[in-house]
């Protein structure tokens, strides 16, 4: 898994966001951290793309790279057909109004010394939209949308609210400029189950009402399933599997997707709530999970091979390329579950030469 390729991309004209061969690297002394390595995906208007993976897999970096925070090392980010990576600072600033982001920790993402009213109207102040009265009106309307009462809330400061309420304020604030795309970076990971349900419902509701497109980043497969139309599974800076959420959960084909599903069954959150419908999910898959390999010196070939129970010689020699194994179900694996092995793996098996090209 953890492969490259662009087979999963759809019609460029219809996509709101299209990411091509995105690479983000950070310097680490004399070496480089390969945070995101050749990732491609697209999101259609009104769609929710879920990005799932463990800590350190590059999912947040991918989300931030959409906003050019920081600018990717290479690759393209097309938003409404325009390549954001080629824009000047000022042009990018103009574009950021259409893309908003909601972070994991809502308390620290709200400036602690401002009142909620100040925080809410700030985007409108910056863009000089409307009169001060109109700005407050808009803030009031948006807070009402997220079930907060403007009169009781507006003069308070973030520390006076619970995490769930702060997340509501963050959502209301993200909506102030009428964005087209919202990147949700683990928006419910810090919340209790009951509050999590409230926020997930709210996001769904807002999405429907404002025709939003969402990129939803999370490590929790059950949460992602709830909100997503399409799901991308990431491992160590690469995409493993991209599919419609129904197909992905019904037939997880990448060994890593399967291991993740198993983990959420046995551990927190998703538990007590029926086994995944996918075939042959076993506890064994989880036991093979060790620490993440280093993203400074990632494994050759498939980056998942060091943890993969199905890995063979070809996995070390050749990086698997994204291919369609079922309609609209793409996987980057030489030996996917429930689908024929890749052509490269067949070729090397018959030649007995892992390095044959």
């Amino acid at each position: 898994m953890a492969g490259s390729g662009t087979a999963q991309l759809r019609d460029p004209a219809a996509a709101l966001v299209r990411v091509e061969n995105l690479v983000v690297e950070f310097p680490a002394g004399s070496r480089r951290v390969h945070a995101v390595s050749d990732v491609s995906f697209d999101v259609f208007p009104g769609e929710t793309l879920g990005i799932v993976g463990e800590s350190g897999c590059g999912k947040s970096t991918t989300g931030r790279a959409l906003l050019q925070l920081p600018r990717p090392t290479s690759g393209k980010v097309l938003f409404e057909g325009k390549d954001l990576t080629s824009l000047s600072r000022e042009e990018m600033r103009q574009h950021r109004t259409k893309i908003q982001i909601i972070f994991q920790d809502p308390v620290s993402s709200l400036y602690p010394r401002r009142t909620i009213a100040q925080l809410m109207v700030e985007p409108l102040d910056i863009w000089k939209i409307g009169t001060p009265e109109e700005r407050l009106e808009r803030a009031k309307a948006m807070l009402t949308e997220v079930s907060l009462d403007f009169e009781t809330v507006s003069w308070r400061k973030p520390y006076e609210f619970s995490i769930g309420q702060c997340q509501r304020i963050s959502i209301a604030r993200a909506l102030m400029l009428n964005p087209r795309l919202i990147i949700c970076d683990e928006p419910v990971s810090a919340l209790d189950v009951s509050v999590q349900a409230q926020i997930l419902n709210l996001l769904e509701d807002m999405k429907r009402r404002y025709g939003l497109t969402l990129v939803f980043i999370s490590h929790d497969l059950a949460v992602v399933k709830h909100v997503s139309d399409r799901v991308a599974v990431m491992f160590l800076g690469k995409l493993c599997e991209v599919a419609d959420s129904t197909s992905l959960y019904a037939q997880p084909s990448h060994p890593y997707t399967r291991a993740l599903l198993m983990a959420s069954v046995i551990s927190s959150r998703a538990v007590a709530r029926t086994e995944p419908s996918g075939p042959e999910v076993s506890r064994k898959d989880l036991e093979t999970q060790s620490e993440l390999p280093s993203s400074i010196t990632p494994p050759s070939g498939c980056r998942y091979r060091t943890r993969c129970p199905r890995a063979e010689a070809v996995c070390a020699a050749r990086e698997p390329i994204m291919r369609e194994i079922r309609p609209n179900h793409f996987v980057a694996c030489h030996f996917p579950i429930g689908a024929p092995p890749s052509n490269e793996s067949l070729a090397t098996n018959t030649n007995g030469d892992a390095n044959a090209r």
Partner: protein, 361 residues
């Protein structure tokens, strides 16, 4: 969880429960008034058993586990009730005596493993410290034991890792080290307070499996505190659901999940997303927030958010009463799955109470 019976150490067999908490009260005096964090909690825990304590943030579950251990601030605390641990009342003993119990008899695993460890001390010394203090081990014996402990919690190359500092480990690995420290003196009771919150799913699953395995091997009792019902299923023998400082339902795990009586347990259970649910389905959420523990309402504390609530719930507080299955207690006037409950829900639906609408079918 019967297989753990095989690990009984004959000398350790004692018919009496290991921990008996009776009408435990922990109130804090603050400038906002008296905060009733734990307000009359009773339970018993037998040797080798696991008790799961489930509740939302602010339900008092962490204060409860700290009260059991005696880890409370010295001032402005009102404590009542008894905590009998192996024949000693922990609520009455001196700080000096507690020092001999902490770590040796009762150990704790905290939520955030990275801050639970001292950042400027090598992990080796953090593990050997309690071995040398409580068990009086020599430096070399303690080191040997520490290596064995690290190996038992699944840390590779333990000899090498003893010289590492906490920042060199990932969150999951730090939690393993915290568990190793907690287990170092062979405690009879382990308190795990949200041991997997903040960890990734794959790592969380490993940590929970590790805790269950070690608990069975050592015939240890465990209190597993969490906000997630999923964590306690299949791991706890008994589950207690806490709300606003009280236990509102307690029972053997299967009974509790199979036949939940308290509307709060039901709501908590339903609000968790499931892998089996279709995409974009609405989650039944619990409306509103838990009550302010300094200004608790009269009557049932959950009434404000309860889909079943009737006028009686807002004036009269229900006490814990037994359900049909042995050991299953709940505090509710209109329990789930009874004719009264069904009728109450129907009445609220007809009235269009927001809480009733939110629960779904």
């Amino acid at each position: 969880m019967s297989p753990k019976r095989h690990f009984v150490d004959v000398e350790d067999v004692d018919e009496r429960p290991l921990l008996q908490v009776d009408s435990l009260v922990t109130h804090f005096q603050t400038s906002h008034g008296v905060v009733r964090s734990v307000d009359g909690v009773s339970f018993t825990l037998n040797r080798g058993q696991t008790l799961g304590i489930v509740g939302e943030s602010g339900s008092g579950k962490t204060v409860l586990s700290r009260s059991v251990m005696g880890l409370l601030p010295p001032n402005n605390v009102i404590r009542e009730g008894t905590v009998m641990f192996a024949g000693i009342d922990l609520a009455r003993v001196s700080h000096q005596e507690l020092r001999g119990i902490w770590g040796a008899q009762i150990a704790m695993v905290f939520q955030d493993p990275v801050t639970a460890l001292n950042p400027v001390v090598r992990v080796g010394r953090q593990i050997t410290e309690s071995l040398r203090f409580h068990l009086g081990m020599s430096r070399s014996d303690a080191k040997e034991t520490a290596v064995a402990l690290l190996r038992s919690v699944g840390i590779p190359e333990p000899e090498e890792r003893l010289r590492w500092y906490p920042y060199q480990f990932s969150g999951g690995m730090c939690q393993r080290i915290v568990i190793a420290i907690a287990l170092s003196c062979g405690p009879k009771l382990l308190l795990a307070d949200e041991p997997t919150t903040g960890l990734d799913v794959t790592v969380a699953a490993q940590i929970l499996d590790l805790l269950s395995r070690l608990q069975q091997e050592r015939y240890m009792s465990m209190i597993l505190v969490t906000h997630d019902l999923g964590v306690v299923t299949g791991r706890a023998d008994v589950v207690a659901v806490m709300y606003a400082g009280k236990i509102v339902e307690i029972g053997p795990t299967e009974t509790l999940f199979g036949d939940m009586k308290m509307p709060y347990t039901e709501a908590l259970f339903k609000s968790a997303p499931r892998l089996a649910d279709a995409s974009h389905s609405m989650l039944p959420s619990i409306p509103g927030n838990p009550p302010n523990p300094a200004r608790l309402p009269p009557g049932c504390r959950f009434a404000e958010r309860c889909p079943y609530a009737q006028p009686r719930c807002r004036s009269e507080e229900p006490a814990l009463r037994p359900a049909s299955a042995p050991g299953h207690l709940f505090a509710c006037w209109y329990p789930v799955g009874t004719p009264e409950g069904a009728e109450a829900l129907k009445r609220n639906r007809a009235l269009g109470t927001p809480a009733a609408a939110g629960l779904g079918a």
